[in-house]
């Protein structure tokens, strides 16, 4: 009898565990897999002048035959199309390039800030951390718009430079890739600073003293100890900037010029200007495939990080 009770309890335990595990999986299925398969399905469809503007639609009332027709209507034509037009791979490459350059600039700007924060007096750190996070309290769009006010020909930056006599004619920054870099670096800076700060903050300050004690100058100690030890934070920060920047749409649209070619903009164009939902979906699916590589690398880095600490 007692054995029975034990069994029931075990079963109850197992059930509870299953339910707990199911929560994240349901989340993943509902908010990632289902939308992904919808997009994938659209990418295999054909454009049509209808609502919604693609074919075929699944006609459940037609039963099995409807299902067969539905699958027969799907093909990889749109993906083939992507390979035929140089626009797409140019846009992907250009996005990767812009994302890579932005990431490097963000790192160069973010690292000293994170370093300064980690070396600041402890009573100052919460304030500094707050200042880094503070911009999130304002709408992202408003912040990008305010950059338009700063960077435009008649904007704050040019006015100040002209007034100071540094330049004679306004600098054309707005609507160029430089403006895009400024926008991306500004927007994603906290994502770079926070993980680097976290690793630097965790770092035992006696390590630096040990390095100095063993004959390093301050500079050498930075390169030999601080930098290698903040590698985890640097990698995490770079991925957190690089991955979303590849698909960035708002910043290149608002700050970039006609030369700025990014896959996010191409996607928008396919979807809105061309009403070509199938090709837009194909672009999105390929973008996801491209992003999976850095995401997997990122995960692996995180795992290694955890193992090293454990």
């Amino acid at each position: 009898m007692s054995g029975d009770g034990l069994d029931t309890r075990h079963r109850g335990e197992a059930l509870r565990k299953a339910v707990l595990i199911a929560v994240p999986y349901l989340w993943l299925v509902a908010l990632f897999l289902v939308p992904f398969f919808i997009v994938l399905k659209i990418s295999l469809s054909d454009i049509a002048l209808a609502r919604p503007p693609y074919m075929p639609q699944l006609d459940l009332s037609a039963g099995l035959a409807g299902l067969r027709d539905f699958f027969a209507g799907l093909d990889f034509e749109n993906f083939v199309f992507l390979t035929e037009d140089s626009l797409y791979w140019k846009a992907y490459l250009s996005s990767l390039q812009i994302a890579a350059v932005s990431t490097i600039i963000t790192l160069l700007v973010g690292y000293p800030i994170a370093y300064g924060m980690a070396r600041a007096a402890p009573e100052w750190r919460p304030t500094l951390l707050m200042l880094v996070i503070l911009p999130f309290w304002t709408s992202f769009l408003i912040r990008v718009y305010s950059w338009m006010g700063i960077l435009s020909n008649e904007g704050t930056l040019n006015s100040v430079l002209l007034w100071l006599g540094v330049i004679d004619v306004p600098l054309q920054i707005m609507n160029t890739n430089i403006a895009v870099y400024i926008g991306v670096v500004y927007t994603y800076l906290p994502f770079m600073i926070l993980p680097i700060y976290a690793t630097l903050d965790k770092m035992d300050s006696s390590l630096l003293e040990a390095a100095e004690d063993l004959g390093c100058s301050r500079t050498e100690a930075f390169w030999l100890v601080t930098l290698p030890l903040s590698k985890g934070g640097i990698i995490a920060g770079c991925f957190l900037v690089f991955i979303p920047t590849i698909g960035e749409f708002v910043i290149p649209t608002l700050l970039g010029g006609s030369d700025t070619l990014m896959i996010g903009k191409v996607l928008w164009e396919e979807f809105f200007s061309n009403r070509d939902w199938p090709v837009a979906s194909a672009v999105a699916v390929v973008l996801l495939m491209i992003l999976i590589i850095p995401i997997v690398l990122f995960q692996r880095n995180e795992q290694k990080q955890r193992e090293a600490e454990g």
Binding site: D204, S206, L207, E209, A210, A211, E212, D213, L214, G215, C216, S217, E220, L224, V225, P228, L229, K231, A308, E309
Partner: protein
């Protein structure tokens, strides 16, 4: 004559390796080090001991170069090193947290300092291998710090800080992170390595046992000042203040008012007249009173002369050593090295360990070895003081107390192991009655917490030389505690 005793601080000719000259260190308003002067000699194993916040870590950080003194000078090999950055000092430090570089292997950690010197690769490799051998880490050379145990990490940290063969090695609570057993093993290993390498070690610790075990000299610190600098045995047996007595080991503090005790000329004369008589010598050895230098030279020579007679006799104390080295060695020659030996048991200790605590006094008298009669009332020396310390309690006799303290508040610092305990009245100059409240059984020894009639507590310690079944003092027992007239150290409050 070759000097065999390691006591460079006794030699006025010897130049200190490190000298603090009136060093003061302030952090804002806070004075961490207050006008401190100190000399540390080459090849010493020097311990800075004190509670947290006493300034010992600041001292070490000033030596390493992480802090500069606000006032005064720190000299290394006679040169002022203030302002010399840590990476330019022939000083290395072993950090409390070990501060091993987690991204480097054990080998690379040890090689780190050598590589900074720009030595050729084969030299670096040879030195690292030597260090690995010294610390028995050869097997772990390729491991990362997180892949080895705490004890191994401690040895890596030691190897790394020794690799550059510094003139001075600083150890900041080096064993704090180890468990007790490993700590004890490592203490001996540290001493061993210190001896092998001949490096001067300065260790910072708050653990008095650790300081006593490893150090040649201990500086007890309090609030930015050094209270006492001496060998471990002197620190323990002859603390110069209540603070030191209380900080080092377990102690009973009997607070009261001193009253000069009449001289008993016959006894005193006997002591002076009989230079070979062991009692006064033993008494002086057990509890020398540095504040009472009125002992005659003959007494001192008697003390010194007594030494070679019986190898089991008490060892010389600091005063005795000083006397010997300054006055007597031209006649008697150098003493043999005995530095690392703990003092031999005092007659009191011998008495207590040689007989069962609970045995009736007459058994004790029988068992007592002949020379250890210091606590015999018949042999009680005259002079000294008595301390009135509580209503209804007999005053405590301390023959080693300075009669000049008459009328002043004093504290008698009394180590528990010098207090005997028995069920019957003890044959001792000082005996008190009480009740056992608590017994701390530590295996090798037991400490009895005895409450006296006036409510004050006194601790008595006995070595558990008998099996458990034979010891019969237990909780709530009415007992006598007793101690000799020289068992405690009289300190001015």
């Amino acid at each position: 004559m070759a000097q065999t005793v390691f006591a460079p601080w006794e030699d006025p000719e010897e130049k200190p390796l490190i000298e603090f000259r009136n060093v003061t260190k302030r952090f804002g308003e806070f004075v961490a080090i207050d006008d401190l002067s100190l000399a540390i000699y080459s090849k010493e194993f020097f311990a800075l001991l004190g509670p947290s916040g006493c300034g010992k870590t600041t001292m070490m950080r000033m030596l390493a170069g992480f802090e500069d003194p606000s006032e005064g000078a720190i000299l290394l090999d006679g040169r002022d090193i203030s302002g010399v950055p840590p990476n330019r000092r022939a000083v290395n430090m072993m950090f409390q947290s070990y501060a091993l570089f987690p991204h480097l292997s054990v080998w690379d950690n040890i090689a780190f300092g050598l590589k900074r010197e720009g030595q050729p690769k084969d030299k670096i490799a040879a030195r690292v291998d030597e260090m690995l051998r010294l610390t028995r880490l050869n097997k772990f050379a390729t491991r990362k710090p997180h892949q080895i145990s705490g004890g191994q990490r401690q040895r890596v940290a030691l190897a790394r800080s020794l690799a550059k063969a510094p003139k001075l090695l600083l150890l900041d609570e080096p064993l704090g992170a180890l468990d007790r057993k490993l700590r004890e093993e490592t203490q001996f290993e540290l001493m061993d390595i210190q001896e092998k390498t001949g490096t001067t070690f300065v260790i910072v610790t708050h653990d008095q046992e650790e300081a006593m075990t490893v150090a040649s000299r201990v500086a007890v610190m309090d609030e930015g000042r050094i209270v006492q600098v001496a060998t471990p045995s002197v620190i323990y047996e002859a603390p110069i203040s209540v603070y030191v007595a209380d900080f080092i080991g377990d102690v009973n503090l009997v607070r009261g008012t001193a009253r000069a005790r009449p001289e008993t000329p016959s006894v005193a004369a006997e002591a002076v007249a009989g230079p070979t008589a062991p009692e006064p010598a033993a008494a002086a050895a057990v509890a020398p009173n540095l504040a009472a230098p009125e002992q005659t030279a003959s007494e001192r020579s008697a003390a010194e002369a007594a030494l070679p007679v019986d190898p089991r006799a008490p060892q010389p104390n600091a005063l005795g050593e000083w006397l010997h080295d300054k006055v007597l060695f031209p006649i008697l020659g150098r003493r043999k090295p005995q530095q690392k030996l703990l003092p031999a048991p005092s007659p009191q200790e011998r008495a207590t360990s040689d007989r069962p605590q609970t045995a009736p006094p007459r058994d004790a008298a029988q068992a007592k070895p002949a020379p250890a009669h210091a606590d015999d009332p018949d042999a009680l020396a005259g002079g000294g003081i008595v301390i009135d310390w509580a209503e209804g309690q007999p005053p405590v006799i301390a023959t080693n107390g300075d009669a000049a303290l008459d009328g002043k508040p004093v504290v008698l610092a009394l180590r528990p192991e010098k207090v005997s305990i028995g069920k019957a009245a003890l044959d001792m100059p000082n005996t008190l009655r009480g009740k056992v409240i608590d017994i701390a059984y530590l295996g090798n020894i037991s400490t009895y917490h005895v409450q006296l009639a006036d409510g004050s507590m006194i601790k008595a310690q006995t070595a558990n030389t008998r099996r458990l079944s034979r010891r019969d003092i237990t909780w709530e027992d009415e007992v006598w505690v007793g101690f000799s007239a020289t068992a405690g150290v009289v300190l001015e409050e």
